[in-house]
């Protein structure tokens, strides 16, 4: 039963490949547009996430009050947010970036804050005794100590950023892989839908690989668990 799926619902890989090769000219610009959106959104989302988590970390009293709001921000359905964003910011790139930012920043905040919280008490103790200022404590101890957690958050965010970009295009866009996919879907071109998915996945894997590469470089020299 699982394999009795009509071709128009789940096209054969060869069909998908064929369409991917032949259709390149027609979707290359969509791809570019979505990657741009995803990269910009990811960078902004991560920056916002880091700034927010650092601020909350440095202002523990604010943290209590703001944390629930962050959770809430993840629960505003896009179909509600979409008209508001469009009305405030039009059909341009800004509302889309807001959506991606909203998707990316939350995993960063949760992971980073948890990273800060787990800072080794012994090292913290040494730094305090040595008279480290709050900013030194932060730069020399808390940040490097939280780095693995931050990367954990970055990985989740990177994974979501491409999908976030695709979703943001449903806000109303004239190009982008999300638009391409909706058009394909509504004109029943399932092969194209799958081409779109394949590229979304490739984009996402590239993003993820970049983060892993960065992690390798930045955490170089840290002791692996088997050494």
């Amino acid at each position: 039963m699982f394999f009795a799926i009509p071709n128009w619902l789940l096209p054969a890989p060869t069909d998908i490949f064929h369409e991917a090769v032949n259709g390149w000219d027609s979707y290359a610009h969509h791809l570019l547009s979505t990657s741009n959106l995803a990269v910009v959104g990811f960078v902004i989302g991560v920056s916002v996430g880091l700034v927010v988590s650092i601020s909350l970390h440095l202002l523990p009293s604010v943290r209590q009050a703001v944390y629930p709001l962050l959770i809430l921000s993840q629960n505003i359905p896009i179909i509600v947010l979409a008209p508001l964003l469009v009305i405030w910011f039009g059909f341009g790139v800004l509302p889309k970036i807001i959506i991606i930012t909203l998707v990316c920043f939350f995993p960063i905040v949760v992971a980073t804050l948890d990273g800060f919280r787990q800072t080794s008490p012994d090292l913290m103790h040494y730094m305090r005794m040595a008279g480290a200022s709050k900013s030194q404590l932060f730069r020399k101890l808390e940040i490097p100590h939280a780095l693995p957690s931050i990367f954990s958050g970055l990985k989740i965010a990177a994974t979501y950023s491409v999908m976030g970009a695709v979703i943001s295009e449903w806000l109303g866009a004239n190009k982008g892989i999300g638009v391409y996919m909706t058009l394909a879907q509504s004109s029943f071109r399932t092969d194209r839908v799958f081409v779109a998915i394949v590229f979304i996945m490739i984009l996402c894997l590239i993003f993820f690989a970049i983060i892993i590469g960065l992690e390798k470089v930045m955490l170089k020299g840290r002791r692996g668990k088997d050494e």
Binding site: H125, A130, K140
Partner: protein, 249 residues
């Protein structure tokens, strides 16, 4: 060049009193050893001087200035080395200096060599033996710019000879720079060999039970260990400590 005065320091953790009315002075350029049973409160005294928490009562002053609860006034080796696992050895030893000013890698390099750690500059802490890590923490304290040094059992993981070299080196540095040193150790000979004065802590809660001034002339060398005077002092300190002779609880 700095003088530390601790005045009637009292401290409790939860409902348990640890320090009661502890007062002492470390004069300018003086080398003072602190002895006492395990768990009596020696490290706690260091943490209080370092401003990690405030004493329940009492004050510390450095050069007449009240430093109670203030951090960064002393340089310090913690009882466990507390090295930063993501920093190489050379990056670890400059950390104390880095916090106060620009670190001097040249001097750091020389100091590491003197501590027998040549060739380990770019190793990570986990690649070092226990004693080597302790030496790194010691070098880190020596490279810190403060004039008042608190050392919490800095040589406990070293063999006799490495320990002797480190002691001799510490004495040289201390004499050259006339820093003031407060030094925790469980080794009576070490305390006698290094210190001008010797404080003995009682237990439960801790107070300063004895404050001995040592008469040995400086510079000191290993022959001191063999003098009759040294042996007498050793016995005296031993007895003083023995009055605490029950396992603390």
């Amino acid at each position: 060049m700095s003088e530390l005065i601790a005045e009637s320091i009292t401290k409790s953790f939860a409902d348990k009193q640890i320090l009661q009315n502890v007062s002492f002075t470390v004069k300018e350029g003086e080398f003072v050893a602190l002895l006492g049973p395990s768990g009596s409160g020696k490290s706690t005294i260091f943490h209080l001087i370092g401003g990690m928490s405030r004493p329940d009562e009492g004050t510390f002053s450095l050069d007449g200035k009240d430093i109670t609860g203030q951090r960064g006034m002393i340089s310090y080796t913690p009882q466990n080395p507390s090295l930063f696992p993501w920093r190489t050895i050379i990056q670890n030893v400059v950390l104390g200096a880095e916090i106060q000013k620009k670190p001097d890698y040249q001097t750091a390099q020389e100091m590491l060599e003197k501590a027998g750690l040549k060739g380990y500059e770019n190793a990570y802490p986990y690649q070092l033996s226990g004693g080597m890590q302790q030496r790194v923490a010691f070098v880190r304290a020596l490279l810190s710019p403060q004039d008042f040094i608190c050392l919490d059992e800095p040589f406990s993981a070293l063999d006799e000879f490495t320990r002797l070299e480190m002691q001799q080196w510490l004495l040289n540095i201390w004499q050259e720079n006339k820093k003031s040193i407060l030094f925790v150790t469980h080794n009576i000979e070490e305390a006698l060999y290094l210190a001008d004065r010797l404080l003995i802590l009682s237990n439960n809660p801790a107070t300063i039970k004895y404050d001995f001034s040592l008469p040995f002339v400086r510079p000191r060398d290993e022959n001191l260990f063999l003098t009759e005077e040294f042996l007498q002092w050793k016995r005296k300190i031993y007895q003083a400590l023995q009055e605490n002779n029950h396992i603390p609880s």
